[in-house]
């Protein structure tokens, strides 16, 4: 201010002569005051500028409020990607005038298809999971921390099973521009240690462990940490069961883990979609979402159930899981034949909802394909098959047979339960049907020595059909799609597509490429060292399915 006055004094004094004194004096003072205000104004603006905290959403919330979207995606991401990897495993196909590259074990370059779990693990979970676990840790909420560790483990497990090498050590560093991939072995190790931590935390009773607090965000087990503990054991059992090609496979550990996990169908991890809004909170395979309307069951799944592969015994689940054609017959499409396998319109299988087109609102659907169908994440039946396989590989055929029969029985009950979730059209499988099926030697051999891997794995395929996409694909890759045991195909009747996608170079698909818009566009530096830029990267076998230690 003084500097300003001295600089302008010359002007000021020169003008004074023209102005009347009464005019000049008060005005000068006011003028200088105004000027002071003008110059000082910005100094007072510190609080004035504090309007950049986003008023439209909080920066942090209580730990249990992070959970609902993550649990939603825990159930929803697998069917999302299942639309693609379900075709690698011939659970269904898309009938069209030409055979889709997915039905030919190919991939769509320049597309994010078959990489939803990638998005969910890094973004839908991502920083949300980190924040939730940090809060839980600080607030000694060991139950929610344990659930967080399960989610983290589940993420790495499904991601490495789907893509092989993934980003773990460098993940969630926002200052990085490229990310190195970690080996699958490391991913398996990471899952293992996370689940051990989860198991320890879920057994804790101290601190702020509170079922009602957890239940706010947990609609799978309503805050019951005991159930989550079983889930952790089950996930660990799946992890260990994948090592069948490795010298480190330990059937006893697998059996022990399964025994500590789900005890009955009541423990099944099912996601109850509320279906109260227009779209996002409905079963991904439900009719409203219209995501699978154009798909049809394959000949492969049909032959597993209509007696073709099991000595003529028709599976009572067939009419409750699969869809008939308009003429009432059950058929499946040949993945090698375009245009509906040459069937005429009355012979073409209807869609999974049981209609030729999209049913209108409120019309009943079938099996797990209804808006409110409780969608499975892991089931008792599935784990029993894991146990049966372990017992079988260990050579305990009698025990394996009993577990195998129990697994099928559990799945029959599961089918009945699912068909009553949302008023679906199929009738329940009666006890008589169930008993007849289970006592049929084509399905359950009377002599334990007649039990084969193909019984266990093909029936496991049925039990996981259209929901257990990650595990089912892992099963098929562990047995290299067409492995045989004593001349019997492990997956009875399965054949690779005759016209494999051009980039496959004659090899079956072994992994999905990492998400295009995440990695192929922005992280090629990370992809190059693992061969991810090769056009046949998707045929590179996984570490876990290759022999070794």
């Amino acid at each position: 201010m003084p500097a300003w006055r001295s600089r302008h004094r010359g002007i000021y004094s020169r003008e004074t002569a023209r102005l009347t004194p009464t005019y000049e004096k008060p005005m000068k003072r006011i003028f200088l005051l105004l000027l002071a205000g003008l110059l000082l104004a910005p100094a007072g603006c510190k609080d004035f500028l504090d309007v950049n905290t986003n008023p439209n959403g909080p920066e942090t919330v209580s730990a249990n409020l992070y959970l609902p979207p993550m649990l939603h995606w825990l159930a929803t991401a697998p069917p999302y990607d299942g639309r693609y990897i379900g075709r690698y495993t011939q659970q269904f196909m898309g009938p069209a005038s030409s055979i889709s590259l997915w039905d030919r074990m190919g991939y769509a370059a320049g597309s994010d298809a078959a990489a939803e779990q990638w998005r969910d693990v890094y973004w839908s979970f991502g920083q949300n999971l980190i924040d939730m676990m940090t809060k839980a840790q600080n607030e000694e909420r060991w139950d929610i921390l344990g659930v967080g560790q399960i989610l983290k483990a589940w993420g790495w497990q499904v991601l490495t099973d789907m893509h092989g090498e993934i980003i773990i050590k460098e993940a969630f560093d926002q200052s990085r521009t490229t990310f190195d991939y970690d080996t699958q072995e490391y991913a398996y190790f990471e899952v293992d240690s996370l689940l051990h931590e989860a198991i320890a935390n879920l057994q804790r009773n101290d601190g702020a462990v509170d079922a009602s607090y957890l239940a706010v965000g947990d609609k799978i087990y309503n805050g019951d940490r005991g159930q989550w503990l079983k889930f952790a054991y089950g996930l660990l059992a799946l992890n260990r069961s994948h090592f069948t090609n490795k010298s480190t496979y330990n059937a006893d550990t697998v059996i022990m883990l399964v025994d500590q996990s789900f005890q009955s169908n009541a423990d099944d991890a099912l996601f109850p979609y509320p279906a109260v809004t227009s779209n996002d909170d409905k079963n991904f395979f439900g009719t409203s979402r219209d995501n699978i309307t154009g798909y049809r069951q394959t000949e492969f799944i049909l032959n597993l159930m209509n007696g073709t592969e099991f000595g003529g015994t028709v599976d009572p689940r067939m009419t409750r899981m699969l869809a008939p054609s308009p003429d009432g017959q059950y058929r499946g499409l040949d993945v090698n034949v375009a245009n509906w396998s040459g069937l005429d319109s009355a012979q073409r299988p209807m869609n999974f909802f049981g209609y030729q087109g999209l049913p209108g609102a409120g019309q009943p659907s079938r099996y797990i394909f209804s808006d409110k169908s409780r969608f499975p994440i892991m089931t008792y039946a599935q784990l029993q098959f894991v146990k049966a396989e372990a017992q079988y590989l260990k050579g305990e055929k009698g025990a394996a047979l009993a577990t195998y029969e129990n697994a099928i029985a559990a799945h029959i009950d599961f089918v009945n339960d699912r068909n009553s979730d949302d008023g679906q059209s199929p009738t329940p499988i009666t006890e008589a049907e169930k008993d007849a099926f289970l006592s049929d030697p084509n399905i359950v051999p009377t002599d334990p020595n007649d039990l084969t891997l193909s019984h266990i794995m093909s029936q496991k395929y049925i039990a996981q059909w259209m929901w257990g996409f990650n595990e089912l694909w892992m099963d098929m890759r562990r047995y290299h799609y067409t492995d045989t045991e004593s001349g019997i195909e492990v997956f009875r009747g399965f054949a690779l597509p005759t016209n494999l996608f051009v980039d496959n170079n004659g090899k079956p698909v072994e992994r999905a490429r990492p998400r295009y818009n995440s990695e192929y566009v922005w992280n090629q530096a990370g992809l190059a060292p693992i061969g991810g830029l090769e056009t046949d990267y998707h045929t590179k076998p996984l570490w876990i399915t290759e022999p070794g230690s």
């Binding site: 002007i11 009347t20 007072g44 500028l49 309007v51 986003n54 919330v61 992070y66 973004w123 990370g526």
Partner: protein, 1028 residues
């Protein structure tokens, strides 16, 4: 709170009033101001007694009077926009009245013209060191565009206006000197009566429908809303000055980094009286794409969505002219009435005006109605206080159709010609379907689309600016402007339960009420010119500005209609809301010093410091300078000045820019998935965000010849924007996020602007004036943040796999796409199994650039006695346009180019057989017959439809007017105006002026992407102007 402090001081100033006004030993001055050319009176001349606050304005007959002037010798200074300023000496004796008349020289455009500059200041053209150009309000109004922004196209070199479409109320974007920001807004600041005015276009991102993860989002593709600048009634505009670069707009700071449009509204003048004008306008459509009528749909329309690859229509098939009968000839009427006047001493003036626009579109149901009420008054309250208040109220009601993929044009084009499209309902009143597809898959019948869906927007707006000018001392004055700009914009978007877009959800209604309230305060302390020596003088100002912007959008989405035809969210079973509150505050301090050496050499120094709320502290405070200079060499060297007038200009400026609100710290959003909860949005944190800076320079010259009958203005500019904040930039999901806002892009723009004006003929009865504006602007991306390979604006990825994408070395208006694979020699690679070209799976550059090579706006005004003929031609050379509509028609077998489908052809290219990059690649020899292989069309690359180097000559407007002989009215004229009467272009689509998005989208947006867009119609206006 600086605002409160300023107001406090102002209150103090008022309290001190009574002590101030005295005068002794005074006399009076009176006289008239007359036009030196015609001898007629000149009104509204501001006359000041130099060195005092005394002054007056001339009234209708050109007279003025100034009382109580202290005795002695005084200099009287006159200023009037459009006239040369004068300085005359008079001697006043105490107690007597001296008469002094002025002879004012009218100037079209020359160095002595008084022009408006930044902050509402005026200056003499000769002192200005930057390129700026003005358009008179009369020219704007005569263009007959309800949205005045459209009237600027072609009238200012370097200004490029793009209409989103030809629908009433369509948004228009203005780009000055090219696209420099690759993701943010490139629109200039709009200023009205000294303060910023909101010209935003509502983005669909605030609709509840567009909540993250929504399956029914519009993404700024399916809808358009008016740019809010259109709320201004063109009839209220006195003049528009375009400040083209940061150099000219430096005093406006960060929001004017892309230039500024400075609007001055009309004020009352003595003798203004009552004025009335009207306009009746008839519009007709420009036409529609040709479609073939030879091949019918496949089988029946049973299972396919309007694919015309079937057999030929049998002879004698009845065809309906669905396309022509769909469009209407529409009528628009406008009425403007104003009352204005001023006291005889010019100390108080007023203007009250009202305007009514009722515009109907050529697309049924579309309209744009606007009511404007305007009042402005100015008063010299005391010798030292001048008060100016302007208030503008507007109400706009706009109905638009959906656009693009969801709009009626595509449905109109693909509708079978063998069916009467106007029968769009079943007898029972439900939607009539004609394929076996579900209502959610069959494209909407165009009539159904416009009659059953709704896109309505109602806007109420009030802009009020109060300016107080204190002149307590002779050497300075203090000017404070306080302004509010507030509007409530109610939007209703209905996707009918039976329409394709609403069927899946059994009807979708969106309501969005946008409430915007912007407050601006600006205080300027002006120091009058002070002579340092007898040749060197200095003048300057310091000022401060405070901006407080606040917008709340309350969005509501309802789905699942109970009664399919009752339009209300109350009628839906599923509802959810979404509130979006956005705030931004800005405080600025700035100053300017102008050195004037002998009226021919000027140097202007400016500096500004901004404090913004949107950048983390302490980087939210940033300073930037500018320096401009002007050298009138024709005055410096009188030997040159004998033959011509001439001036050289040079300017350098830096300008900072902040980020959008909430850009650097992520927040959680409530999830729409099961059981709600919270999750992070797409954006990751960036606490290191800092302002971006543009460094810009320009130099130019203004030359006048033949007594200024020929003038030339040439400007070259270059601007480099560093550390550019790129919004929504992607990265590996390994970061835990999908998008980031980060610094790091660099773009460089340069260009050449030439304005040539001439008066080839000027006689008593006949005159001819020409103004030509040439513009060539180039924008280039130099680098991207983190060396990312591509940045793109996702909303522009609206058709196929082509989008507004940028990478280093590419134009800022490029298109990237999954273009053809080519070998090293640039030959197409052909799939050896199909004989069809192969495409990249990545988005690549194939040299497409939507920037024109140059544009020319050519306006001519011919006057013969009472007749005036005026026309504006808008010409463009080069620049690519993506004709997505034609691609859409081609893959459906409707384009006339598919008529030769039975002709075998071999696509020119080489087989991708491993030899494609060898010395002798295998030429493609595989013959394909499209009729037998539908993939020929179905998989056809969009690249075939990016039309390169599009030129046009467009008659923007042509007006013939006739001034009636004076009678009982003071002034009366009749006119007829044609707009967009013809366009000569090599573009095969309907109209190359298109935007696949709206003006709300940043970067280059989808300008030049033509997908289902209605062209600008032809229109003829006629009307009368009366003054009483």
């Amino acid at each position: 709170m600086p605002l409160r402090r300023v107001i406090g001081f102002l209150a103090l100033a008022f309290a001190a009033l009574p002590a101030l006004a005295f005068a002794q030993g005074t006399g009076n001055i009176r006289g008239r101001a007359l036009d030196a050319g015609t001898g007629g009176p000149v009104t509204a001349v501001q006359i000041n007694v130099d060195g005092t606050s005394l002054g007056a304005q001339t009234v209708d007959d050109g007279s003025y009077s100034i009382r109580n002037v202290p005795a002695g010798q005084h200099i009287l200074v006159t200023r009037r926009v459009g006239y040369e300023p004068t300085r005359d000496t008079v001697t006043v004796q105490a107690g007597s009245t001296v008469t002094h008349d002025f002879s004012l020289r009218s100037v079209a455009t020359n160095l002595n013209e008084v022009v408006v500059t930044a902050l509402g200041q005026t200056a003499v053209q000769r002192s200005i060191g930057t390129a700026q150009q003005s358009v008179s309000g009369a020219d704007i109004a005569a263009a007959q565009q309800p949205n005045f922004v459209n009237a600027l196209q072609g009238r200012v070199a370097g200004v490029n206006v793009t209409n989103t479409s030809g629908v009433p109320g369509a948004s228009s974007s203005i780009i000055i000197r090219g696209v420099s920001s690759i993701s943010g807004s490139n629109q200039p600041l709009m200023v009205i009566d000294g303060l910023p005015m909101d010209n935003s276009t509502l983005g669909t991102g605030v609709l509840a429908s567009d909540a993250p993860n929504s399956a029914v989002a519009f993404d700024n593709r399916g809808l358009d809303f008016t740019n809010r600048g259109a709320d201004v009634n063109p009839d209220d505009i006195e003049s528009i000055t375009v400040l083209k670069g940061p150099e000219a707009a430096a005093l406006y700071g960060i929001d004017a980094a892309n230039g500024a449009i400075v609007i001055t509204t009309k004020r009352g003048r003595a003798g203004g009286g009552l004025e009335y004008s009207n306009s009746f306008r008839i519009e007709s459509p420009r036409g529609a794409p040709d479609i073939q009528h030879v091949y019918g749909p496949e089988n029946d329309l049973g299972s396919q969505s309007f694919l015309y690859f079937g057999d030929k229509y049998p002879a004698g098939t009845q065809f309906y002219d669905n396309i022509d009968s769909f469009f209407e000839t529409s009528l628009t009427q406008k009425h403007n009435i104003s009352f204005s006047g001023a006291t005889s001493d010019g100390k108080i003036n007023y203007r009250l005006a009202s305007g009514l626009t009722k515009q109907n579109g050529v697309v049924p149901t579309t309209d744009y109605d606007r009511v404007n009420l305007t009042g402005a008054s100015q008063g010299q309250v005391t010798d030292w206080l001048n008060v100016d208040l302007s208030m503008m109220y507007s109400y706009a009601d706009n109905d638009q159709p959906f656009k693009g993929a969801g709009g009626p044009l595509l449905g109109l084009l693909v509708w079978p010609s063998t069916d009467d499209a106007s029968v769009y309902l079943n007898p029972s009143g439900t939607r009539r379907l004609i394929t076996g597809l579900s209502a959610g898959s069959e494209l909407d019948n165009p009539y159904f689309s416009v009659f059953k869906n709704q896109v309505n927007s109602k806007n109420n707006r009030l802009i009020a600016n109060l300016a107080l000018t204190f002149s307590p001392v002779s050497w300075a004055n203090l000017r404070t402007i306080l302004g509010t700009d507030g509007y409530t914009n109610q939007n209703l978007i209905l996707r009918h339960p039976e329409s394709r877009w609403g069927f899946g959800s059994n009807g979708i209604i969106d309501e969005a009420d946008e409430i915007t309230r912007n407050l601006n305060a600006q205080t300027l302390l002006n120091f009058n010119s002070y002579d340092i020596t007898d040749k060197l003088s200095i003048q300057g100002l310091i000022g401060n500005a405070v901006t407080d912007e606040r917008t709340t959008v309350n969005g509501l989405n309802g789905q699942d209609f109970m009664d399919p035809n009752f339009v209300s969210a109350n009628n839906t079973r599923i509802k959810f809301n979404r509130t979006t509150l956005t705030r931004r505050r800005l405080v600025s301090l700035f100053g300017q010093a102008v050195f004037n050496y002998d009226n021919y050499l000027y140097l202007t120094l400016q500096g500004r410091n901004d404090w913004t709320s949107t950048i983390p502290r302490p980087r939210n405070s940033f300073f930037y300078p500018s320096v401009t200079s002007s050298f009138v060499f024709s005055d410096a060297f009188p030997s040159i000045g004998k033959h011509m007038t001439g001036k050289l200009r040079a300017a350098y400026a830096e300008v900072g820019r902040d980020a959008p609100p909430y850009a650097y710290r992520p927040s959680l959003i409530n999830a729409t998935t099961s059981y709600a909860g919270y999750r992070y949005d797409f954006w990751g944190p960036n606490l290191a965000l800092k302002p971006e800076f543009a460094k810009s320079y320009e130099f130019g010259t203004e030359l006048g010849f033949f007594d200024d009958r020929l003038g030339l203005d040439v400007t070259y500019y270059q601007k480099e924007t560093d550390d550019q904040i790129v919004q929504n930039i992607r990265g590996s999901y390994g970061t835990g996020f999908v998008l980031f806002n980060m610094n790091g892009a660099t773009t460089r723009n340069h260009g050449l602007e030439i304005s040539l004006r001439g008066t080839p003929i000027r006689t008593q009865d006949f005159s001819w004036d020409i103004l030509a504006n040439f513009d060539r602007s180039r924008g280039k991306v130099i680098s991207l943040p983190r060396d990312l390979p591509e940045s793109y604006v996702s909303d522009t990825w609206l058709y196929g796999n082509v989008r507004d994408g940028q990478a280093p070395g590419m134009s800022t208006m490029a298109l990237t796409g999954q273009f053809f694979q080519r070998n090293d020699k640039g030959q197409l690679l052909i799939d050896p199994t199909t004989g069809l070209p192969l495409r990249h799976s990545d988005f690549i550059d194939a040299g497409y650039d939507r920037q024109p090579n140059f544009t020319v706006g050519l306006s001519n005004t011919l006057r013969y006695k009472r007749f005036t003929f005026d026309f504006l031609l808008d010409m463009r050379k080069g620049g690519d346009i993506f004709n997505a509509t034609e691609h859409y028609l081609t893959v459906r077998g409707l384009a006339t180019s598919t008529l030769d489908r039975e002709t075998p052809r071999v696509i020119d290219g080489v087989l991708k057989d491993g030899n494609e990059n060898s010395a002798s690649p295998t030429p493609n020899n595989i013959s394909v017959i499209p009729a037998e292989d539908p993939n020929y069309y179905l998989n056809m690359s969009e690249e075939y439809f990016i039309e390169k180097d599009i030129n046009w000559v467009r008659l923007r407007s042509a007006t013939l007017s006739y001034i009636l002989p004076q009678n009982w009215v003071r002034n009366a004229s009749l006119y007829v105006t044609g707009t967009d009467l013809f366009i000569i272009t090599n573009y095969t689509g309907l109209d190359p002026v298109v935007n696949g998005n709206t003006a709300a989208v940043g970067g280059a947006g989808a300008v030049g992407i033509d997908y289902g867009n209605f062209p600008i119609p032809r229109g003829i206006d006629f009307g009368i102007r009366l003054a009483f």
